[in-house]
């Protein structure tokens, strides 16, 4: 219990945050792929979870990721208007609003939960996004929701 405050304060040098990125099969997952192929420099912090549409991401997947030890969770999908299932990402947008509200009221820093629309061709955007978030989280330190004993 008392570890929470201590953990947040510790900004360990050389520590790599764990970032869980939910990626839509039709866009951001492709973005992650082209980031790799284009050899854009990106840190090894991201754990990518592929879903068929951003609309499939249940907010409880996000809570689960945090409770399992993620330092940040990213929700990504196709640009509005480009969803392969008509309006899956419109629903993502609204669900995200509720999710963001819970995270904020809980007191989780806003850097730890982010939403971004990234197409399959935007490899550079994806790489920059992961790099920026990694830098932000390195400043913040480990997530206060991380279980004891998880790095």
């Amino acid at each position: 219990m008392s570890g929470v405050a201590g953990q947040t304060a510790a900004k360990t040098d050389g520590w790599e945050p764990k970032i869980v990125a939910f990626c839509c099969n039709w866009c951001s997952y492709g973005g992650a792929d082209s980031a790799g192929m284009g050899r854009f420099q990106q840190p090894a912090s991201a754990r990518i979870i592929r879903v068929m549409c951003s609309g499939r991401i249940d907010p409880l997947h996000v809570f689960n990721a945090f409770l399992e030890g993620a330092d940040a969770v990213l929700v990504t999908g196709c640009h509005i208007g480009d969803c392969h299932y008509v309006n899956g990402n419109d629903k993502t947008k609204i669900k995200y609003k509720y999710l963001e509200n819970v995270a904020h009221e809980l007191g989780i820093e806003k850097e730890r939960l982010q939403l971004n629309w990234i197409s399959a061709s935007e490899g550079e955007k994806f790489a920059n996004f992961i790099r920026d978030v990694t830098a932000q989280i390195k400043k913040l330190g480990p997530s206060p929701l991380k279980p004891e004993g998880v790095a």
């Binding site: 219990m1 809570f63 409770l67």
Partner: protein
């Protein structure tokens, strides 16, 4: 009769009029609906003693007539009682009852077409356990000696069997941690305009004070209910005087203002929120009672939140509550039921409202007030 009209009325049965909270109109209207087959069943409170009762669904007119009277220490909730039963029913309903019933209606668990909601103005209700303690500590009387209870001019009055009246102001009681449940203090539905017909004693003037009820018709169903009771000879009504109408509007405004003040007092901005929530939820035994009673939930026994009972011991927060904080964001009506039932006294309503207040305000969505769907379901195809 139609929507928007206001009347003052009372029961034509002397004993019901005497026992009624203010004239027995509600009781008589419910009984008339049953007798004339407007409905098949009625929900009323069945007394255990002078200040405790349980809700029942009945088709017995006598049982309805015997229920007259306002019980302020019975924070019952009627929405789940009538859900999934496909009843043609009439029932009294405090603001929070009405909101719960409408939310169950949205979830297809209650057919609102067949439900006649008799709204009761509501200044608040008290937890029965707190009331018992309050009687002993503040009033110095044994709960068993209570013969009657009423609220008058801001005072809560208990009459004992020896005929003595014991009065203490509600302000004083609440200062000492007794009085109304916390959720009632900041509840702002004082006159249930979301019901079919709103009934209360505010607006009753002169000789009729305490002997009549002020009603406002909110829907066609409400008009039918009132007309039926007049036609059946159960009640007598007349037009209210202007002074009464103005007074009622003024009290409503004052009460809503006080509710708003309480809200600001209770929900002060906080640092270290994560630690606060973790501390509060630390003793949760995952019994699921808070979900079972929640009048806006209609998931049944198998639900997403309860899937997470007793799992993930190393987790720093309860998944069960995280899912509920999320799901209640647009659904919580602040009825206080969850806090009332929690066996380990977690102030749940206060926690849930921390999440519900900002999002409901931002999305301008007030659950239980009308049939408007939650924002998530308003996502337009092809937009």
């Amino acid at each position: 009769m139609e929507k928007g009209e206001m009347y003052v009325g009372w029961s034509t049965k002397d004993d019901v009029r005497k026992r009624g909270g203010s004239g027995g109109l509600v009781t008589s209207m419910l009984a008339a609906a049953l007798e004339k087959k407007l409905v098949d069943a009625v929900v009323v409170l069945k007394k255990i003693n002078e200040f405790e009762a349980v809700p029942i669904i009945t088709s017995d007119i006598n049982e309805v007539l015997n229920s007259a009277g306002s019980l302020h220490s019975v924070p019952s909730h009627f929405a789940k009682l009538i859900a999934n039963k496909n009843l043609k029913v009439a029932l009294p309903a405090k603001g929070c009852d009405v909101r719960g019933i409408i939310e169950q209606g949205k979830r297809n668990a209650i057919n609102l077409e067949n439900t006649f909601i008799v709204g009761l103005n509501c200044g608040g209700s008290m937890h029965p356990v707190v009331t018992r303690e309050m009687l002993e500590v503040m009033y110095k009387i044994k709960p068993e000696d209570v013969h009657g209870e009423e609220i008058e001019k801001g005072k809560l009055i208990f009459e004992t069997k020896d005929g003595k009246k014991n009065a203490i102001t509600i302000d004083e009681l609440e200062e000492k941690g007794y009085g109304r449940r916390e959720s009632c203090r900041y509840c702002t539905i004082k006159i249930p305009t979301n019901s079919d017909i709103a009934c209360g004693n505010w607006g009753v003037t002169g000789d009729l004070v305490g002997k009549a009820t002020f009603v406002e018709i909110n829907s066609e169903k409400g008009a039918r209910l009132l007309q039926n009771a007049v036609d059946a000879g159960y009640i007598q009504i007349q037009k209210p005087d202007e002074k009464g109408v103005a007074m009622r509007a003024k009290i409503k405004g004052v009460m809503e203002g006080l509710g708003q003040k309480w809200k600001e007092k209770i929900f002060v901005p906080m640092d270290n929120r994560l630690e606060y929530f973790r501390k509060e939820l630390e003793h949760c035994i995952d019994c699921g009672a808070c979900k079972t009673v929640c009048p806006t939930c209609s998931c049944g026994d198998v639900s997403k939140c309860t899937e997470y009972h007793s799992r993930g011991d190393a987790y720093k927060m309860s998944m069960y509550h995280l899912v509920r904080f999320l799901h209640l964001g647009d659904a919580c009506i602040g009825c206080g039921q969850c806090s009332d039932v929690c066996p380990v006294d977690i102030p749940l309503t206060r926690l849930y409202r921390r999440f519900a207040n900002p999002i409901q305000q931002e999305l301008k969505y007030e659950p239980g007030m009308d049939m408007q769907k939650p924002p998530y379901f308003e996502v337009k195809l092809n937009e």
